[in-house]
């Protein structure tokens, strides 16, 4: 593990970003594949091969490009670009807040793309996506705030190399973060705006009117985002890299487990419960920390 840490320290920012851009989709796709296999096994089925997401993306890239209006695919390209950029910033060790805001910008582009199509399912999916974003945004910012309070810096590199266990100081923040992680991973019970499996409610929600290459780009962007999110989970346990990686993977499996056990919540419940949980777990943690200092 130390070998990897030393290697990481030795690379420049540009090199780290490049490595992220190349490795993350492979990792993300593999995670998505593991997700599908694990979900299937939990349901007593065989499930597709682990590399299935890659097959899906390759197939999608070969489909004909159909559109409803001419500019709907452009926001998707920007969505992908900014998700990659956010992840690259994070793994290069740059500022955590900038990563969060950049991710919010990326999400906004996806929403705008869906709005521009003006079809009922797409519109509804986009509205729900906004609600999802508003539900998780306070907690994500509070994660950054909490980490700042403990380590004195918003810089991911500094946080990752902080020698004390962040999780001990930030248990509430971590709990809140895992709660909203279900929203960010787009898993039941919070998969309001689009669904990966056959849980439909508004057809395909925000991705209804996107097909072929655009859909492939959305899928790849989700892979990048998932890797970034697991990276943020790792930060809480960064003092022992093995433990951090283990917890990140365990969180991923926890998300799959929650997904398989719950049906979708109504958006009102999603929204309110997220803000409430953020308030109870996250806010109390922050206040306790501020009183301690």
């Amino acid at each position: 593990m130390n070998v990897i840490s030393e290697a990481y320290q030795s690379w420049s920012i540009a090199e780290r970003m490049l490595l992220f851009m190349l490795i993350a989709p492979l990792l993300g796709g593999a995670l998505a594949g593991i997700d599908r296999v694990a979900s299937a096994r939990l349901q007593g089925r065989c499930g597709p091969p682990v590399l299935q997401p890659f097959f899906d993306v390759f197939k999608l890239l070969r489909k004909e490009r159909i559109i409803v209006n001419k500019v709907q695919d452009f926001p998707i390209v920007l969505f992908l670009l900014f998700t990659i950029f956010s992840g690259a910033l994070f793994f290069a060790g740059a500022d955590l807040l900038l990563t969060i805001f950049s991710l919010a910008l990326a999400g906004t582009f996806l929403i705008l793309g869906a709005f521009s199509v003006s079809s009922p399912f797409s519109h509804l999916g986009a509205e729900r996506e906004i609600i999802q974003m508003v539900a998780y945004e306070p907690m994500v910012i509070l994660v950054a705030v909490g980490m700042y309070q403990v380590t004195g810096s918003f810089n991911v590199g500094a946080i990752a190399s902080y020698q004390a266990p962040l999780i001990l100081y930030l248990p509430g923040v971590f709990a809140g973060f895992v709660y909203i992680l279900t929203i960010k991973f787009r898993k039941s019970p919070f998969d309001l705006s689009m669904s990966h499996h056959a849980h439909q409610e508004i057809v395909r929600g925000i991705t209804t009117e996107f097909s072929g290459p655009a859909l492939a780009l959305i899928e790849i962007a989700h892979w990048y985002e998932n890797v970034l999110l697991l990276g943020m989970v790792y930060l809480f346990f960064a003092f022992t890299p093995w433990l951090g990686l283990g917890v990140a993977l365990a969180t991923f499996f926890l998300e799959i487990f929650i997904d398989m056990n719950y049906a979708r919540f109504k958006w009102q419940l999603t929204f309110l419960s997220s803000w409430l949980f953020t308030a109870v777990a996250g806010v109390s943690n922050i206040i306790v920390l501020s009183l301690m200092k």
Binding site: A40, G47, P49, F58, K59, R62, K63, E64, V203, S211
Partner: protein, 149 residues
Amino acid sequence: MGWFKRSPWLLHYNATSCNGCDIEVIVSLTPLYDLERFGVINTGNPKHADILMVTGSVNEKSRQVVQNLYDQMPNPKVVVAVGICATSGCVFQDCYNVLGGVDKVLPVDVYVPGCAARPEAIIDGVLKACDILDGRYRQSKNTRPAVPP
């Protein structure tokens, strides 16, 4: 490369079927028959689908819908007629209110007879459809016109 064979996404539409074949299609996705191990996902959205599975012999109302759904699917695409009603109309062939099979409306590529068609037969039909998809894609690549129509 066979990517279509490895990741065929379905759109299932019921055109005047009695729901028997529909149930069998859904059942194919359950743990006992598990279509997902072939990478099959049942999307409800024509824009995401490669294979259109139609059950029931089409009537005037659903003719427009089937046509609309088919038009909204991106190429390459195949149509699978599931059940004998979708194949030829079966005992309802001469009825005034049905057209007598999907091929009166759309170009069908795979026929899966049966009443109701068995899941094994459906899976077989889907896999045959995947082969046709692959062939169609390769064909379109080779004969791609300079300017799209």
